[in-house]
Amino acid sequence: MTDLSKLTIADARDALRKGDFTAVELTEQYLGAIEAAEVLNAFSTNTPEIARAQALAADARIAKGDAPDMCGIPLGIKDLFCTKGVQTQAASHILDGFKPEYESTITGQLFDAGAVMLGKLNMDEFAMGSSNETSFYGPVTSPWRRDNEETKLTPGGSSGGSAAAVSADLCLGATGTDTGGSIRQPAAFTGIVGVKPTYGRCSRWGVVAFASSLDQAGPMVKTVRDSAIMLQAMAGHDAKDSTSADLAVPNFEAALTGDIRGKKIGIPKEYRLDGMPDEIETLWQEGAEKLRAAGAEIVDISLPHTKYALPAYYVIAPAEASSNLSRYDGVKYGHRAKLNAGEGITEMYQRTRAEGFGEEVQRRVMIGAYVLSAGFYDAYYIRAQKVRTLIKQDFEKVFAEGIDQILTPATPSAAFALGEMADADPIKMYLNDVFTVTVNLAGLPGVSVPAGVNSSGLPLGLQLIGQPWNEADMLNTAYALEQASGFAAKPARWW
């Protein structure tokens, strides 16, 4: 038996090739771990038959010496990715029983590389949420707890199942998606690494759309090296996604030298929020010090439109969502409401969507319909898109001045309790994305790196923001930060 709590993708790759264990053995061990962790509610669908068949095929490839890096690596797949013949619901009631007839490009690439799918991972409904509490499957419980408390904590969201599964060692890596912070916030809450690549680096084909100009998939894993390995297999041009970039994908793992001497790291003053907990401020300063000690130059910078990123996001994302989610109408797939005598197609649409969408999704679809409606389109939507231009120009300016990466906190706090925000204004939940949402608006790559624990023993993350298409250099700085931080905390097993 392998100690899964210490195993990484890089280790497993090497051990599989050396024959220390087989993909079938590794997969069986993970299937057992998943079964023993049902209380976390991290997986929404288990696919043991697929996993066993893929593991067997992976072992055959490894034996032949034809094994890509991801060959035989057991993964969890966020429920937002269409997987052929396997329930894909985006954690929504409206997609009840949906089994795609096709495979998303990203999962297809991962499976072609020999990866093993253990199952589908729980998430916020249609990726709208920051705590996993909007899921139709019920919330995911984080494997982490505060010191000696039994309070159930959120793993974050929307990729909360992915974060919980990786940090509880239920898989070696997981796919996530990030529209405003949905990879980086849960990664920070659970002490793992999450990468949101440059917009267009990974194909969106077959990924259930939330806000198409912001959505980007990426890896959620235990180490920066693993993120490089998994991103390599996920990235690349896809003719089926017209926004996917036809650019060569560099070797991300080869870029991890740990040498960041002479790199200029920007510290944006606008990310210093009023009322931000001291532990976040301290973590941020210590992170900057570590990069300085590794030879980087720390530079104070200004991103003056930062404050307007969240309100711009909450115009643009719901607008795109209201358009994207118009396809869920009870005709082509999923749930259809029952009608009374005399009712017709309009009632069918309206009741199907009222029954099928949860409260937060309904709220966003309606906000989107409002900001796109006649008379308000210019005042809200066009204005938000202009502000988005200004936010992107803020970044272009500092990059043009020679800044290589930007260091910020990943989240404004550590993980909170499930239910803690139940009565709060929805906007309070939206504030979780305050440090991450600018990156989506500007189409940039970002990575959350575990950098410390708070006074209750919960993980905290730092975010590095990179130049467009330069994930390789961003990951190298993340690697240096990871080395210097020496983060090794794991959740004490209670499940």
């Binding site: 096709y102 082509k332 797939y333 259809r336 319909a369 906007i427």
Partner: protein
């Protein structure tokens, strides 16, 4: 800008989401709060700024306007709640 009950009813209709009459006042409040949050955008000077249409400066690829794929009727209908004779079936639309 705050949303009144009539506007909430209209927005629900635009979004094709059935909302009961008694649920309209809290919905109007919730939407108003979110819009108030968005009002911050009015502080920004956007004079002469182009609205973003594409976050990465690249032209969309074009291809020949020809059929490249298709013939999946059975797969396309496979997940539908109701189909008849190779079509999606819905309640009567035209009287």
């Amino acid at each position: 800008m705050s949303i009144d009950i009539n506007t909430a009813r209209k927005v629900a209709h635009l979004a094709r989401i059935e909302v009961a009459e008694e649920a309209l006042p809290p919905l109007a409040d919730a939407l108003s709060n979110i819009l108030a949050f968005m009002e911050q955008l009015n502080e920004v000077d956007v004079e002469g700024v182009e609205p973003m249409t594409s976050v990465t400066p690249m032209a969309l690829k074009q291809r020949k306007d020809v059929v490249t794929d298709g013939g999946y009727q059975a797969q396309i209908l496979a997940n539908a709640p109701d189909t008849r004779e190779g079509f999606f079936a819905v309640p009567k639309v035209v009287e």
